[in-house]
Subunit: 210 residues, 2 copies
DNA sequence: AAAAAAATCCCCCTTATGGGGGGATATTGG
DNA sequence: CCAATATCCCCCCATAAGGGGGATTTTTTT
């Protein structure tokens, strides 16, 4: 495995105090080297490739291109780089968007430097470091509604509907008749108070039924 | 907040050595009390409610009802309980299923007791503790394919297709004509080598395009 | 400035799918 | 034993979906 010692860190963060604070602390209390810091992605854009960072600490809210949008671009410019989000945003959307776009870790800005240094070590070893509350948000986003109005079979069918399968395919997959699928679908619609597939899928996702 | 000291722990795990080992260590090296242990969910079923556990450490592979299937039942019996999975399985499916069914944390069995004790503290404080590799698996499950063959607009439309919306709704939502949606759809199908909505959704999920 | 890629819009045609209505019978869990 | 669940069947019809064409306008990229 790659030797972590001296791994190159870049920080992109608009708040000067935070930026320089983290930079100084990481540089002086760990084996990692902060090779550069930028106040925005736009400032980093033309020069960051030359920095050859192993890990980037990336803010979300910044002047110009925001961190979420910067993510895929950074990943394209430096494919093997690990990116850890460092932000004040803890909304489920921000977290999920960041992770969907290639972030390897997610921390809020009040995270102590020691935890961040540990996180840098973690990502380089293949881990996925997150603050506890972020982890909880992620887990909750994966969690199903524990008291669904649907029966097991209905949930199963709704799940297949969600994948876009039509009645015929669902019937085949469950070894039942198309008519049975239809009946279940009717019952699902009634329970969810909808009358189209689209609405059913929306409600399913919304209420985490599938 | 609830006072954690003396929080009640139950362990459900078929391997006697592991079960008793963790029980002893948690009992003697933390403020938590292991009120009971069971070799299987079926053995725990009738008595666990009386144990009034705050946290359950739950194995997946067990004789009789497996841990994943036990999860929703346990959650129904003891709604406020936190469940931490303790298993040898690290497959994406096992992890995601466990979290979907209400697990609050996920660790592999080689986890040192100290980390587990920390995890118990974490869940009770609203965190979502996981081993680093589990966290990585979870994050990867949320990650999109970084080099999709689709354009931004196409991805956007595929996403809406995924939600079950029809051409009309998609058009309305994006302020474009139905015909345009149709054209994009054709292009998406061509790029993904499919020719139905269902297949497109399948491929999209499979290749993490959405 | 030119070429390539992406996004937009339009017409025709056919079939399968989705959704509404109604009714019936095993099987199972509490 | 009763209610809930899962299974299967018929009729009807509107329309969404997919395949075939072709064309124009932005936006990027070279």
């Amino acid at each position: 495995m790659y030797n972590q010692s001296g791994a190159r860190i870049v920080i992109i963060e608009d708040d000067q105090t935070i930026r320089e604070g983290y930079a100084y602390l990481i540089d002086h209390t760990s084996a990692y080297t902060v090779v550069n810091t930028y106040p925005s992605f736009d400032a980093a854009r033309s020069r960051i490739v030359k920095d050859q960072p192993d890990v980037i600490l990336l803010d979300i809210q910044m002047p110009g291109t925001n961190g979420i949008d910067a993510l895929p671009v950074l990943k394209k410019m430096i494919p093997q780089v690990y990116i850890i989000m460092l932000t004040v945003y803890e909304t489920e959307k921000a977290i999920l968007d960041a992770l969907a776009n290639g972030a390897s870790g997610y921390f809020t800005k009040n995270t102590p430097t020691a935890k961040l240094i540990e996180a840098i070590k973690d990502v380089m070893e293949g881990g996925g470091p997150m603050s506890p509350d972020v982890a909880r948000t992620v887990i909750m986003s994966l969690q199903r509604n524990q008291d669904s109005p649907l029966t097991k079979r209905e949930t199963q069918i709704l799940e297949l509907i969600t994948t876009g399968k039509d009645r015929g395919q669902i019937a085949k997959e469950l070894f039942i008749e198309v008519e049975t699928v239809k009946t279940h679908t009717k019952n699902i619609y009634a329970k969810l108070n909808v009358n189209t597939k689209a609405e059913a899928i929306q409600v399913a996702k919304d209420k985490r039924l599938v």
